[in-house]
């Protein structure tokens, strides 16, 4: 497993995948810098800046990035005929699939860390006097990351199945764009997997309300875990049987 992980690192090290990781945190940081906070709101500056930065990130960029990264970790195999070489090596298909998935979520975690770094940078530049609310920030960012896992699982399955780079992108866009409408819907939002990163990232920051949009956290947990298991297992089983 570890040996295969290193082999993947070698392939991805010299690829533009690392730039993708910076895009959303950089944009969000610009939003954060552009925000004005009235002096009387100074106490809540961190939370407000975080909400400002996390909203576009969680709503669009993070789900889309999940699609891009999943397609990217499969791209070199599709382009260079690497699947048949790789799978004729003494490495199990299960290992290949799990390692690819770990790379996707690893890079997503890196993105979340960069977003946090961007937020801290904004706060430092603007000289926020309030203490950094670490517990809320970390739990929201980790929550958003966990909420991406079902999406990553589905996108990886699609990326493995289709050799085109554009097809998984289209799938990602088709499912992500309805977020703009659904995330405000009390009825459907909590049940839509693509809305989960946004909900998870913002729920902690708006602690005043219990749950999100009146939905208890248990529901969200079930949606995330349930869709993750369904998507991951179908992709995993499909890859085991795929003809190379």
């Amino acid at each position: 497993m570890w040996r295969f992980f290193r082999s993947e690192l070698l392939k991805l090290r010299k690829s533009p995948i690392w730039l993708l990781v910076f895009v959303s945190p950089a944009l969000s940081t610009i939003f954060g810098l552009g925000m004005r906070i009235a002096p009387e709101m100074e106490e809540m500056a961190w939370g407000m800046t975080y909400t400002m930065m996390a909203a576009p990130h969680g709503l669009l960029f993070l789900p889309l990035l999940t699609g891009v990264l999943s397609a990217f970790v499969c791209r070199y195999e599709h382009v260079g005929g690497g699947w048949k070489q790789m799978l004729a090596l003494p490495v199990s298909r299960g290992t290949v699939y799990v390692v690819k998935f770990v790379w996707v979520i690893g890079l997503l975690l890196l993105t979340q860390c960069l977003l946090l770094a961007g937020l801290l940078a904004v706060g430092t530049v603007k000289g926020y006097s309030a203490a950094v609310p670490w517990d809320i920030l970390v739990s929201s960012l980790v929550g958003g990351w966990v909420a991406c896992m079902p999406l990553a699982a589905l996108q990886l399955a699609v990326s493995v199945a289709w050799s085109s780079f554009a097809a998984p992108m289209a799938v990602s866009a088709i499912f992500t764009l309805p977020n703009i409408l659904l995330v405000n819907s009390e009825k459907y939002g909590p049940w839509y997997p693509w809305a989960q990163p946004m909900i998870a990232m913002l729920s902690g920051a708006q602690q005043a309300e219990p749950g999100v949009l009146g939905v208890p956290p248990e529901t969200l947990f079930i949606v995330i875990l349930g869709s993750f298991i369904a998507f991951f297992l179908s992709g995993f089983v499909y890859f085991q049987r795929k003809m190379i």
């Binding site: 082999s7 392939k11 010299k14 005929g81 690497g82 699947w83 048949k84 004729a88 090596l89």
Partner: protein, 307 residues
């Protein structure tokens, strides 16, 4: 025959409604160079993909090194090197990095990379990104990758496809040297009889998914009924002389000074040439008249339904 390295039992793959591979019983002995011959679309690549576990057989079993491939896939593949169809590569990486990516998985010493690069003579190009390589160089890199794990069995699917004549020659010499130097067994597929003939010790012919011939290269030559053509200055005298030593030669229709002999062993042919020369007959040419693969397929498949 020596111990079997590859043995398939009624190996079958159905793709849609078509029997891509139909009840194949391959047997490849230790240290052999097995030429796997057949026209395009006959099922060669499908068979090779099954031998490597890339696709699952519809029916039948594959045993490699005496082990069931389904059950012991990883330990079997550790001892197999392969190159399937066009070469696989990561274009944005250098040749060295491509090999390193595979080396990580195989867990062999780093020095193997330099060794295999020198075997395929890519040492000088090792630091260049592979996307700038010619097809021949990519093919050689593919061979290097296949050799990286010091395999006991090398499976090469159409390794000379797209190579120029010097590349083909080089590849052939490389393949021929493997069993001698390293004790490897080699399975090499091709759609060219001439190519297989020049390197294989065993031949299997597949047409429409069925194995229609499997034996030594010598047996194939006998079977194919290739003939020897001798051009001389005195056709009639030579014909009589051959007849006197028990060889029924035929006249070639267009030229009475050309004789056609049935296929002879090397020693017998040498004796006949000596006989002619000693009797002051000038021998201009001694050539083998080969029949094309198509002819042979027609014969082996009983005519009509071949190719």
């Amino acid at each position: 025959m020596s111990e079997a390295v590859i043995e398939t039992n009624q190996l079958t793959k159905k793709l849609g409604n078509k029997m891509a591979v139909d009840r194949l019983d391959l047997r490849i002995g230790q240290g052999e160079i097995y030429g796997f011959l057949g026209p395009n679309g006959a099922g060669k690549t499908t068979t090779i993909r099954m031998l490597l576990g890339l696709i699952r057989p519809t029916r039948g079993t594959v045993r490699i090194f005496g082990r069931d491939l389904q059950k012991d896939r990883l330990s079997v593949l550790r001892r197999v090197g392969s190159l399937v169809e066009y070469p696989s590569y990561y274009g944005h990486l250098t040749a060295y990095e491509n090999l390193e990516a595979v080396r990580c998985i195989l867990d062999v010493p780093r020095s193997r990379i330099d060794e295999v690069l020198s075997v395929v003579r890519l040492t000088k190009e090792a630091k260049r990104p592979v996307k700038g390589f010619s097809l021949g160089m990519k093919q050689r890199l593919g061979i290097a990758t296949a050799l990286l794990g010091s395999p006991e069995l090398l499976i090469l699917d159409e390794p000379t496809n797209g190579l120029d004549p010097s590349g083909i020659l080089e590849m052939r010499e490389l393949i021929k040297s493997m069993p001698k130097q390293l004790g490897m067994t080699v399975l090499v597929s091709s759609h060219l009889l001439s190519e297989v003939e020049q390197m294989a010790t065993q031949v299997g012919i597949i047409a429409q998914g069925k194995l229609i011939f499997q034996d030594s290269i010598e047996a194939l030559r006998q079977h194919s009924g290739s003939r020897i053509r001798i051009s001389v200055d005195q056709g009639e005298a030579a014909w009589k002389m051959l007849l006197a030593s028990g060889i029924q030669a035929e006249w070639e229709l267009t030229d009475a000074n050309r004789l056609l002999l049935p296929h002879e062993s090397d020693e017998q042919l040498a004796r006949l040439v000596k006989l002619l020369v000693h009797n002051d007959i000038s021998v201009y040419r001694v050539e083998e008249e080969k029949r094309s693969l198509e002819d042979m397929f027609l014969e082996l498949t009983g005519g009509g339904d071949s190719l």
